[in-house]
Symmetry: none
Subunit: 228 residues, 2 copies
DNA sequence: CTGACGATTCGATGCGGATCGAAGCATGCA
DNA sequence: TGCATGCTTCGATCCGCATCGAATCGTCAG
């Protein structure tokens, strides 16, 4: 009876609401600071620090200090996989969440993953880009093609400037609702900024929902057509 | 930020050592009784009962009562998937396990379940009967059809006499080794008696193994053919 | 019917751990 | 240097929950 890997130890780490919220926040793939994670989880910095220590000690997170900030990220894709499976089970587990907010459909269609577009529309956008060979997908690692750079310039995004920053230009970001990838990275952020600038959509306060207007949605679909 | 599925609720269920041990014990796919799971987890029956209620309520287990026993099994392959991923992550940090070895093959193939046939052959027999519409399965409640009664008479089992007793004629009986049902009840007993009478198989002393001879096995498969 | 056994419920106990306040350390900026 | 900011450590508190003893219910055997 005492045999087998210690699954309880890992699961207990995921079992605390504060820690689970932190991990869910990191599902986007980007690293966040301890303070951001504390706010995300709704706890004080002291408590968050304790949680983050436990998570890194348990091998679920990797930490790295940079100046006076402490950045944390998921330890690997296996952790993200595990979280996704958990979300899948929790979804049909019947128990709906306590807060009956605006709720799923809008979130599922379009939401922000920190600073870029996620949800069905986010996935559709990346699909469209790869279909037209504007973005290349080499085993999960994304890169902008020459044609893609031209497209972006025409769209109002100067990729030369973006590539200069430390942040990767393109990043495949796993989507929990659709179970496919959408576009993250500096380019993903720039594209979402364009969506806002063109008034195709606006961010709903206090929520992650990105609300598209009817003409905005049509324009979006025209700019990023999906194959039949 | 309270968005997304409630992963903490599920993870917390897996986070208790006793519950984790129970789930690990069920990874083989067999259903186990509450008492067996209590022993497996190293807790008293009272505690185990509480844990099992939580797990079923959380959608991770399905329970089924049979006589004075309560059988529990994993709710589905998604749960098994999740556990497997957890084990994969838990393996990294530490102590290995010695997986409970492959169960005795003979027990798995054919054994007695009280007085009727269980194991792979028992399941195959019930499958064959339902496939040929000799037995009807209405949501887990089995009944013999008119054609079935004719088949049994030709096979040497007089069902009219059996139906007179207090014991139900047909009963779906959950199989530990395979996660499916085999035929119990008075008819199940009568059929196993026929198997003995025809010398297709004999009971091994001091064990639950039902040992088929080579020609006996062939005859059995001919009498209860499985669909291709 | 009676006795035995397995499963469950109830109530009480005790421990682990989440949480926060206060203080201690680093780093960055003027 | 001095001050502000962000993270961590320490100590104390408090709640949740796993655990078990005792009792109850249901099923099976005789």
């Amino acid at each position: 009876m005492r045999l087998g890997p210690d699954i309880a130890r890992i699961a207990a780490l995921l079992g605390d609401p504060a820690r689970a919220n932190m991990l869910a926040a990191l599902m986007g793939g980007q690293a966040l600071t301890a303070g951001e994670l504390a706010r995300e989880a709704g706890v004080t910095p002291q408590t968050a620090s304790s949680h983050l220590a436990k998570l890194t000690d348990g091998g679920l997170l990797t930490g790295r200090r940079q100046g006076r900030h402490a950045y944390f990220a998921l330890a690997g894709s296996e952790v993200a996989d595990l979280l996704e499976k958990l979300m899948g089970l929790a979804d049909r587990g019947g128990h709906q969440r306590a807060r009956p907010g605006p709720r799923e459909p809008a979130l599922r269609q379009a939401r922000v993953c920190y600073d870029h577009l996620a949800g069905e529309l986010g996935v559709a956008m990346l699909d469209s880009l790869t279909d037209r060979a504007l973005v290349e997908d080499r085993e999960g690692s994304l890169s902008l093609t020459a044609e893609g750079a031209g497209f972006m310039r025409a769209f109002g995004v100067e990729t030369a400037g973006l590539a200069r920053g430390r942040r990767p230009l393109c990043k495949a970001c796993l989507d929990w609702s659709v179970r496919r990838s959408h576009l993250g990275g500096a380019l993903g952020q720039a594209l979402l900024d364009q969506v806002y600038a063109r008034r195709w959509a606006r961010r709903i306060e206090g929520s992650r929902v990105v609300a598209f207007s009817a003409p905005g949605l049509a324009a979006f679909r025209a700019a990023f057509p999906s194959r039949p």
